[in-house]
Symmetry: D2
Subunit: 336 residues, 4 copies
Amino acid sequence: MVVVIKKGSEERQLNNLISWVKGLGLDVNRVDGENSTILGLVGDTSVVDIDLINSIEIVDKVQRIQEPYKAANRKFHPDDTVIKVGDNEIGGKNFTFIAGPCSVESEEQIVEVAKAVKAAGATVLRGGAFKPRTSPYAFQGLKDAGIRLLLEAKKQTGMPIITEIMSVAHLDLFADVDIIQVGARNMQNFDLLKELGRSDKPIFLKRGLANTVEEWLMSAEYIMSGGNNRVILCERGIRTFEPYTRNTLDLSAVPLVKEKTHLPVFVDPSHASGLSRLVRPLSLAAVGAGADGLIIEVHNNPECALCDGAQSLRPEQFEDVVNRVKVMLPLVDKKI
Amino acid sequence: MVVVIKKGSEERQLNNLISWVKGLGLDVNRVDGENSTILGLVGDTSVVDIDLINSIEIVDKVQRIQEPYKAANRKFHPDDTVIKVGDNEIGGKNFTFIAGPCSVESEEQIVEVAKAVKAAGATVLRGGAFKPRTSPYAFQGLKDAGIRLLLEAKKQTGMPIITEIMSVAHLDLFADVDIIQVGARNMQNFDLLKELGRSDKPIFLKRGLANTVEEWLMSAEYIMSGGNNRVILCERGIRTFEPYTRNTLDLSAVPLVKEKTHLPVFVDPSHASGLSRLVRPLSLAAVGAGADGLIIEVHNNPECALCDGAQSLRPEQFEDVVNRVKVMLPLVDKKI
Amino acid sequence: MVVVIKKGSEERQLNNLISWVKGLGLDVNRVDGENSTILGLVGDTSVVDIDLINSIEIVDKVQRIQEPYKAANRKFHPDDTVIKVGDNEIGGKNFTFIAGPCSVESEEQIVEVAKAVKAAGATVLRGGAFKPRTSPYAFQGLKDAGIRLLLEAKKQTGMPIITEIMSVAHLDLFADVDIIQVGARNMQNFDLLKELGRSDKPIFLKRGLANTVEEWLMSAEYIMSGGNNRVILCERGIRTFEPYTRNTLDLSAVPLVKEKTHLPVFVDPSHASGLSRLVRPLSLAAVGAGADGLIIEVHNNPECALCDGAQSLRPEQFEDVVNRVKVMLPLVDKKI
Amino acid sequence: MVVVIKKGSEERQLNNLISWVKGLGLDVNRVDGENSTILGLVGDTSVVDIDLINSIEIVDKVQRIQEPYKAANRKFHPDDTVIKVGDNEIGGKNFTFIAGPCSVESEEQIVEVAKAVKAAGATVLRGGAFKPRTSPYAFQGLKDAGIRLLLEAKKQTGMPIITEIMSVAHLDLFADVDIIQVGARNMQNFDLLKELGRSDKPIFLKRGLANTVEEWLMSAEYIMSGGNNRVILCERGIRTFEPYTRNTLDLSAVPLVKEKTHLPVFVDPSHASGLSRLVRPLSLAAVGAGADGLIIEVHNNPECALCDGAQSLRPEQFEDVVNRVKVMLPLVDKKI
């Protein structure tokens, strides 16, 4: 960590700062330049509160050299993490399709979609039971009943299942769920993350709408520092000034995050745009960017004209995406 | 709600949409123009999922006319909400200072700061017991012990206290807390909001770093729809591209939010910038913008050089802010 | 255009607004609802200043139904625009590689890079002569001498050339340039756009760092309304809160913009990230998203260790990108 | 400047970088740590291209210690710049009101508004002659005729005038204008800035919609490095994700920019929000934040109901703002 001290700062204040830093167990190298003094902090700087130092009167700037995350850091774990879920190996050279409906609605629906996406090439089934909704007046999901229906679909198809958790209080309901999803709005629900760090299940951690890559990796670190190393990251779009798309899918983040961490990185093209007709191009784009997998919404209501064109694909559209992706995989050194 | 239908859409699909909307209990006015058809949806549109409609293939655009929030909406509650807390009346023509340390550290510290800010003009005491931290390796607060120390300071000074809640699981610990704060990162922790809707305590709801004014009011609506109408809003800075300040304090939001809602709106100048030397100008700016109160960090460590210049003011600096604000209040039709 | 009038507005003010709108040659349909009155404005609303209407006291909201751009609008020109440049056909089913150095430095450099990128598959040569630089102390390009060197490389290789214009005053120097580039910082330099509307050369219009898709298309409209229909759009990254990448490449914009307009859409993966090692994944991502071409920086300084890893690729790295893209093209219904 | 080198970089590449830096006339201090090597670059680093260094393969991070601007930097010019314009002294302890109509429309209009705002307390007259408009179909201003009308109003009232320039080609028309305004969209029109650096007139430089404080100061530096030190900065709102306001007025920037530079900083509350009813609260907020002046739109069309509520105030509303601001000035150590 490099701390730049303002020109003309009092020696007394500077010595106070140096003593305080040494009290944290760090060494300090001091270099006096013409216009400023620089302190180089050496040691385990992940314990240092950068905001606190930045706010000290005599400090001009602070820059981390060592990233604040350790367990998630590729520097210390150069090999890709590969996570076993049922017969799936997620991460490394493997490419994985997760698919299923936005919300679980009925046994007939979830089983039918599960069979359809399995036939098309998906190997993990998704479905929302607890639904985070901006409005208290909107449908909040089937909750525990939804999880029971997912487990029924798992029984009938053999597919592992993933569904979202919204509260520590519901954790018991997830005993037979294969992958627990943390939604974008809970990415910094630190109490939830800590609890999931004590779980033995893979955690699918979506990036928050306005969270930096570093904050995202720090949330992974919360889970991993509790002992659970099986974290899968998922980019789903960030908030920008552009109103035409619901969110801006940050595909530049994918190759960058994969440099920083050894964890698998997925992309959700359905939620990013909110438009089903953008799912195919954004899926191919995500594969080109180097994603380890896709999570895609698929519905089975051909008779429901309303659903045409929502963010969900029909099974045959999903199959078309899978087939095109398969052609691309050798270009990005992946296989299915 | 106005729904614009794409030119050349099939009549069948349009009729499906109209039937579906009518099934929600709304009336539909249809106007056919040269380049598009427009549907006017009349009735209680707060139940309509605008994202769902927007994602329908034949829909070009959707625009709400009625805001999606009702209990928080000034249209239906034109008078300012005034919230009684101890001897304080918060909102309306009243201006309120909340002050105290960032974190509760010891009985001596919290009692001393409480007495100092009371003498300077604060009427509510703040102090962090549960601290949301980006890093799992950072100090997470004294937790329940911190709340006990706050209660001791309340006993000695008579000031009502406010502190942040991070999990539904801790709610019992807040039984004697006067105002419960929901932090920016939990603004859309919907399970927590629902639970606080069943509380009889005022809720101090900070705006999320990347949340729109409408989402903020919808989070207030979550609490209010549960029966708890005592919500205080607090602007604390939003995330933008600008790196010089930690956050961009959105003071334009203050007069605008006060048009939209009858709830009190506070500003937190300490967290927005993270720099104590900006607290005074941003406090005066917030008063100019029409805020109903300020929440300011104050510390009492004159001997700790490290703390000089952090985002906390010393008591005499806080008193200086209070005195200047008092001169301004008649200009904005407020009193203390 | 739909104008929502506030509840309780004076009839006099409403009539003034209606008269004013009719004076613009538009028809007005008025619908009185329970909580608000809605005006539907019918006719050529591209002449209406939406900001002006939005700022009127009695107006609650305004929503365009018709886009404000006409010449650039796919609704009125459903077929893809294909632009002939030398032997190239740009747009439609064609995919085009533009490549060359960041700045033109010497005849030897530009001719050598031109030959290398031509051999690798590029069919248009890029090179900066006028360089927009944030700092007045940074190298500003070889200017007219740089253009002369580009023309020499064109003569020796037969490749058409593209280079950036920064001022109307330099237009004469571009007489033999094949495509004129407008940089991101000049996207709303309206005087320059108007002048280019009188040119007979294709204009390569980069998206501004913080400009919406609609503003970008309005800048294309400036050029087209002057009579020059040969506009090529180029996405090069937008400004967001994320500090890890220089800009966030908005690939969601590509399929969306291609729905809105018939103009070709390129992607610049070199400038978006500023990191050469991200050029390959972002190039493949751009192709997946449906881009009509790529503009890529290539350098020829194998002996200059400094340049390794800058945002420019070496020729053999560029060739590798070309070869991978060629495999992808059938997946996105494109050919080279 | 501090350059962090990646662990495991080749010594050959590192030496190449060090030689290159020394070739720029800088000294290099090298410190080898456990996980990385750090280079401290000492000397005039304003000539160093930080993007270039950042993009080098062996570089992990770069951090400036010295700001890249010199003439605009308060470190080298600690005293406030005060700019004489007619009888006005702008900057320092002075507070200045600039007011006038959005666009110049007629002699009667501009003279009448000029007299009204002068009576109310303004000392500089604003009025748009060249109007930057997003749409080519919108009114583009009276241009040279508008400037002639402004000069007529100047003659009749004695007020100095400010108006916006959009192109170098129009510079001759500004011979008798007192202050030349550069609009937000031209903040990085570097050719225009260079030309204005050769002018002897004060330049009123608005911040770009998505430009950082550092870029804004670098644009001031463009003008100042040409020899023109009379630059006035103006904050007018930045682009964020929030749709309720047209822009987010970044008032946190005001005290911060005044730390970084000795130049006067104004605020434009009219354009930031686009809503006249927000002009008063945002004006008071700007004064609280420490602005050196305000530029406010005022119109004189009491009979034009359409104009009610647009972003312009009526003269009596402007006078009310002036009177309230006068009460505040002692609180921020300013006078009028």
